[in-house]
């Protein structure tokens, strides 16, 4: 694995050189799809490639049971990989975004999403990631991944997503 301690654009070059793959289309996690600016303008290419690397090698999403913020075995394994990635890439900070399914009231779900994000944050810190590199926010039930109203969709929507971004770390 290539170890990065360099800025975004250089990181992209490094990735291309090492893997000799065609450049992937920049894939940007946009938690606020539809906003005129998601706040990432100016560094999208580098961020896209790096966020992609984080998602591919660590996995950015952990899932929760109904009404729960408890981390299951699968979630803990993902978070161990996330912590390793963040420790390897010390110039990156992260935002943990907690989500709920649409069952329950808007306000309770905001608090529940925060509880989930908090559980992830706490676990990452316990794995050795500096506390100052992890912020949290809750989206409640406002940004479902799946739009259908079935238990299968709800399972995917009860999640916490870790979004990494360069340059704002320690």
């Amino acid at each position: 694995m290539v170890r990065f301690r360099i800025s975004g654009a250089a990181a992209l070059l490094g990735l291309l050189g090492a893997c000799a793959q065609p450049a992937p289309a920049p894939l940007v996690v946009d938690p606020y799809a539809g906003r005129p600016s998601a706040g990432y303008t100016g560094n999208l290419a580098g961020l896209g490639a790096t966020a992609e690397d984080f998602r591919t090698t660590a996995g950015d999403t952990v899932l929760f049971s109904q009404d729960q913020a408890t981390l299951g075995a699968e979630a803990r394994a993902t978070l161990v990989r996330q912590a390793e990635w963040l420790k390897r890439n010390g110039s990156f900070s992260s935002v943990v975004e907690g989500h709920s399914d649409e069952q329950g009231t808007r306000e309770y779900n905001l608090a529940l999403g925060a509880r989930r994000a908090g559980a992830v944050q706490e676990y990452l810190i316990a794995q050795g990631v500096e506390a100052g590199r992890i912020t949290t926010r809750s989206m409640g039930k406002e940004r479902p991944l799946e739009v259908c109203s079935t238990p299968e969709c709800y399972d995917k929507n009860r999640r916490a997503v870790t979004i990494v971004q360069p340059g704002a770390g320690v």
Binding site: G104, G118, R137
Partner: protein
């Protein structure tokens, strides 16, 4: 019994230059104390003369011959005749519209049904003509509304009278409202409010507004903006754009400010907006925390809200002017959706400290322990104290069905008013007799819409809002 107070003649709206179109639109309804001049009809006029015994009839609430008890066993709507409103100058179309709005207000309560005009026997030729009671009895009208409208120089004059047909007497004074032409619906609502109040004995609510969130776009990338509309969905205006996710607007007690929750800075944060100027500021918030679910105290000095830190959410109280704040709860559970009792002494909220979300009441000064008041099946949330203090409305979830319900503040007399895939977030009409809430349909095309239901649960209907809408907050009765 309701009486209109004479308001000072302040006919002209302040002409402050407003910076944006949005502000100008917002201001159009804002001079709450300005445009509607409620006055008793001039003593020399026929309106007042026609109502000599008004006090005798209307002043005694219990012995009045014409009365609907909303909380009683009333199941049949009262037949009421609305005679065609007269055009007393330049008001042909306006007379029809005022009558239509007034009639819709009354029939929308399900407490009244109108007798179709083609069935009317009496055909009065003018507003001042004596009432042919026998003709109205012949069509089984129990009450009669007559009205006249005039439009001149950008102003609308609406006058109406109410008659008790069986006793053959006027019910209360005739009243005249003068408004700017753009506020003609307010005059219609004011007149309908008078009819409603005189017959039900309740305080009125038609001349009021509702803050809400308008929604557009796909379910996984919803755009939201805050609007304010008349209680019946008319005249929507926009207070925010949709560049940031916004939730749950809440009026100040005087209707001049709005609290809401914004994601503009990433994490949810409570904002305070002056509705006249649209000036908006974020309330004090410690870095790394979230704040949401705010509500004003009845005196407007305090807000209660949810504050989250390190994943845990508690109820906090803030002095709006100084930003001084303190926690009201401190548990590992989620505490949210707080709101004051109308006398300001207690706070109702939801907490999952028992293992599932339930409703609790505690002293607003933090001096005592919370008392749980919800013990029925399922989960409870979003409690809201009625303005009259007698009931708390809430959201209840049983398995995968949602209800809007009401209970007494001690938890007694629980009653579910609605049931659907997803109902949530009740808000009270200013008189505590009707609740508005959000109903969302399931699936990828699922759409939230506003509905209202009265406290008996018998009269549920959608609010006529263009497009998807959620998070209603019913503001005060306008002056």
């Amino acid at each position: 019994m309701i009486r209109l107070t004479r308001t000072p003649t302040c006919a002209h709206r302040p002409k402050a230059a407003l910076p944006t179109l949005l502000a100008a639109v917002a201001a159009a309804w804002l001079p709450l104390a300005g445009p509607v001049l409620a006055q008793e009809a001039p003593a020399a006029g026929a309106v007042a003369e026609a109502a000599p015994s008004a006090d005798a009839v209307a002043g005694d609430e219990d012995s009045g011959p014409l009365r609907i008890e909303i909380t009683g066993g009333q199941v049949e709507a009262m037949p009421i005749a609305v005679a065609p409103f007269f055009d007393e100058g330049g008001a042909a179309e306006m007379a029809r519209q005022v009558q239509q709005v007034m009639t819709a207000d009354l029939t929308g309560t399900d407490l009244f049904r109108t007798i179709p005009p083609e069935a009317h026997v009496a055909r009065p030729q003018g507003f001042d003509e004596p009432v042919a009671y026998a003709d109205w009895r012949a069509v089984n009208a129990e009450a009669l509304v007559t009205g006249a409208v005039a439009v001149a120089d950008g102003r609308v004059t609406v006058k109406f009278r109410l008659f008790d047909i069986f006793s053959g007497q006027p019910l209360g004074d005739g009243i005249q409202f003068d408004v700017e032409e753009t506020s003609w619906r307010r005059a219609a609502h004011k007149a309908a409010d008078q009819v409603y109040a005189r017959i039900t004995g309740e305080t009125p609510y038609f001349d009021s507004r509702v803050a809400f969130v308008a929604e557009s776009g796909p379910k996984d990338a919803r755009l939201k903006r805050i609007g304010i509309m008349d209680y019946d969905g008319a005249n929507p205006i926009w207070l925010t754009d949709d560049s940031a996710l916004v939730l749950a607007p809440r009026f100040s007690p005087d209707g001049q400010q709005l609290l809401f929750t914004s994601f503009a800075r990433g994490a949810p944060q409570v904002m305070l907006m002056d509705i006249t100027t649209l000036d908006t500021r974020a309330l004090k918030q410690e870095a790394g925390t979230m704040s949401f679910a705010p509500r004003f105290s009845p005196d407007g000095r305090w807000i209660v809200y949810s504050r989250e830190k390190s994943g845990n959410t508690d109820i906090w109280q803030m002095d709006v002017a100084t930003g001084a704040e303190r926690p009201l709860t401190s548990t590992p559970g989620i505490e949210t959706s707080p709101g004051y009792s109308p006398d300001g002494t207690q706070v109702v909220f939801e907490s999952d400290q028992s293992g599932s979300p339930q409703i609790y009441v505690m002293p607003a000064d933090g001096s005592g322990e919370p008392t749980r008041i919800s013990f029925g099946p399922g989960r409870y949330g979003t409690p809201v104290w009625s303005p009259t203090g007698d009931l708390i409305a809430f959201t209840n979830q049983q398995d995968d069905r949602f209800h809007i319900g009401v209970m007494r503040p001690d938890g007694g007399d629980e009653k579910m008013l609605t049931e659907s895939f997803l109902d949530e977030g009740p808000t009270w009409a200013p008189n505590g007799r009707v609740v508005m809430f959000t109903r969302q349909t399931p699936g990828g095309d699922g759409t939230p819409r506003l509905h209202s239901v009265d406290v008996t649960g018998r009269n549920m209907r959608p609010v006529d809002v263009q497009g998807a809408a959620s998070d209603p907050d019913w503001g005060p009765l306008l002056p």
